[in-house]
Amino acid sequence: MSAAGNPALNTAARPAGGGRRLSLSWIGVVPFFLYVGLFLLLPTAIIVVGSFTAPKGGLSLTNFGGIDKPYIVKAFTLSLSVSAVSAVAGALLGALLAYAVVTGNPTGLLRRSIMSASGVLAQFGGVALAFAFIATISTVGFVYIFLKDHGIDVYAKGVWFYEAPGITLVYLYFQIPLMVLVFLPALDGIRPQWREATQSLGGSTWHYWRHVAGPLLAPAFLGCTLLLFANAFSAYATVAALLTNGGVYLPLQIQALLTGETEQSQPGLAQALALTMILIVVVVMTLYTLLLRRTTRWLR
């Protein structure tokens, strides 16, 4: 990065009257900073300040005190566990699919169409996704009815579709494609020479996965799992369309606190919850970036 940046930096500072040129240069980025200042940094600041402001004004931690209410704790637990399970399952299944893709023809139609489809489906969430699964596996869904007609009742022990297992299943629909998109470059970085070198040194397939491919892919896999976690944790629209009657899901709680009728409305608590969400995602994404850096050093 610095190697590429330095010569450029020199050129920028070189012209005579550099001070004047430099201040002129800054004008070029003013619109950008103005815009993101207004619509990204200001909202973030509003959340941070609002979180630490008491309902009657003044700096305080009152808002965070509301977090230990049982329904908030339950919402947190459910959000975190759905995100974690869908991340791990999505990462495993996505890695399998990615491996099936890389072992095929690198310029073939199969790979190109799976990559394009993954690009679309990884972004596919929200209302349409919720409806898709309602039409599939809810109690009026096609697959549910088909299975029931053939003697299999997937809801024999209760309808789990509108609870954690159902939400997790729905989330897999965008988690798996996202995994394919982010994990495939790491798999592509695995060189065939490494397998052949292992073989010629006397190693079996097991040795190869245990000592070479496994350790090489582990950081990438872990990093991608974290990304999937953040992705699921941030999602709102899908679960909002799925649980139309509201539910104990964290983003739904924020919505209720923000837009509810006057006595329900607690913008301070909503801001505290939003800040907590942001902090969790920031931590996860930082870890992801660190792991990704290690991966790119190994697998270019």
């Binding site: 070198a197 010629s200 006397g202 050093r297």
Partner: protein, 364 residues
């Protein structure tokens, strides 16, 4: 002797018998026969797609032959997978495991053989010393230059005391200066260890410099196998003549086993050459120049159009009216014929290979 443990077991005879490999309808290797003496270094040389890499991978066990046998010192290993063959292999590039240090890379094969960690460290240390990288044991591949990476790869291949060493274009990803130094280094180590070695390359200079014998390959079969001097000075086929070294293509007429190139008569190598027009293949160093370009009458008079300085020798390009001919000579001689001067070509009367003139395109 102190260096005793670093030596592998003395070289083993390697035989390739009638090896064949097809990819669908494409014949990559067709009935290859090659016997390598213990400790010998044989270079397989040829353009890409000639089957040399396929041959090496069949020996390594990384691909399965459609026919033929691979024999290591009397043992038929044809049916064995790569990890049971005890071959040491150095790849073109990027074959070091990037998450291991140089030391760990070299020790990896020993670890697979369940050697104790003391033994692994001692042996890996010796191998790194053998390739001159003792001080780099804790470096990762990304912290080593291309040449250093290939040395580590060589140490790693040799650490397991393999039966045969296979080098798959190990120098092709390096720049010219590193390439010739590492080439000599590989030869030194190979002689030191005494291991039978198969070296695959498309670079004729590399093959001629390093090998005991060179095998020139084209479309899946061996065109010629012999010591470097023989392959260079007595190419068996026109393909070998053109692929190994530079060659002038000079039109002439064959009659009774002698080709007449613009008045100069040269004996023809091929015994069964039919009479008629043909192309004579003449090495640049078989062409010398004299200054009496004024003497009319000789058809070998032309104009110097360029002189390239190569160091001790120089290469002079002469326009002979219709064809250009390269002549190679000591620089001191070449400097007598600057560009623009008239010169007369003298061809050394060595036997030359001829090639039939390509049939003129038929128009109907």
């Amino acid at each position: 002797m102190a260096s005793e443990p670093t030596r592998g077991h003395a070289g083993v005879e390697i035989r390739l018998e009638g090896l064949s490999r097809r990819y669908g309808p494409v014949v990559a290797l067709n009935d290859l026969n090659l016997t390598m003496a213990p400790g010998e270094l044989v270079a397989l040389l040829g353009p890409s797609g000639c089957g040399k890499t396929t041959a090496l991978r069949l020996v390594a066990g990384l691909e399965e032959a459609n026919g033929g046998r691979v024999v290591f010192g009397g043992n038929d290993v044809t049916g064995l997978p790569a990890n049971k063959r005890d071959v040491g292999m150095v790849f073109q590039a990027y074959s070091l495991f990037p998450h291991m240090t140089a030391m760990q890379n070299v020790a990896f094969g020993l670890q697979l053989r369940h050697k104790t960690s003391d033994e692994r460290r001692r042996r890996a240390g010796e191998m790194l010393e053998l390739v001159g990288l003792s001080g780099f044991a804790d470096r990762y591949a990304s912290q080593l230059s291309g040449g250093q990476q290939q040395r580590v790869a060589l140490a790693r291949a040799l650490a397991i005391e393999p039966t045969i060493l296979l080098l798959d274009e190990p120098l092709s990803a390096l720049d010219a200066k590193v390439r010739s130094r590492l080439r000599d280094e590989i030869r030194r180590v190979q002689l030191d260890v005494g291991i039978t070695t198969l070296f695959v390359t498309h670079d004729q200079e590399e093959a001629l410099a390093i090998a005991d014998r060179v095998g020139v390959m084209q479309s899946g079969h061996l065109e010629q196998l012999g010591p470097p001097t023989e392959v260079y000075s007595r190419p068996a086929t026109p393909f070998v003549a053109e692929f190994v070294g530079l060659t002038n293509r000079m039109p002439g007429v064959v009659k009774d086993g002698v080709v007449d190139v613009r008045g100069t008569k040269l004996p023809v190598v091929q015994a069964d050459a039919p009479d008629g027009p043909a192309i004579a293949l003449v090495r640049p160093e078989a062409v010398s120049l004299t200054a009496d370009g004024e003497s009319e009458g000789s058809a070998l008079v032309g104009t110097v159009i360029a002189v390239s300085f190569l160091g001790a020798t120089s290469r002079v390009t002469v326009d002979l009216g219709g064809i250009t001919v390269l002549a190679q000579m000591p620089t001191s001689q070449a400097s007598e014929h600057p560009a623009g001067t008239k010169v007369r070509l003298v061809l050394r009367p060595d036997p030359v290979l001829i090639q039939r003139e390509e049939a003129a395109p038929v128009t109907s």
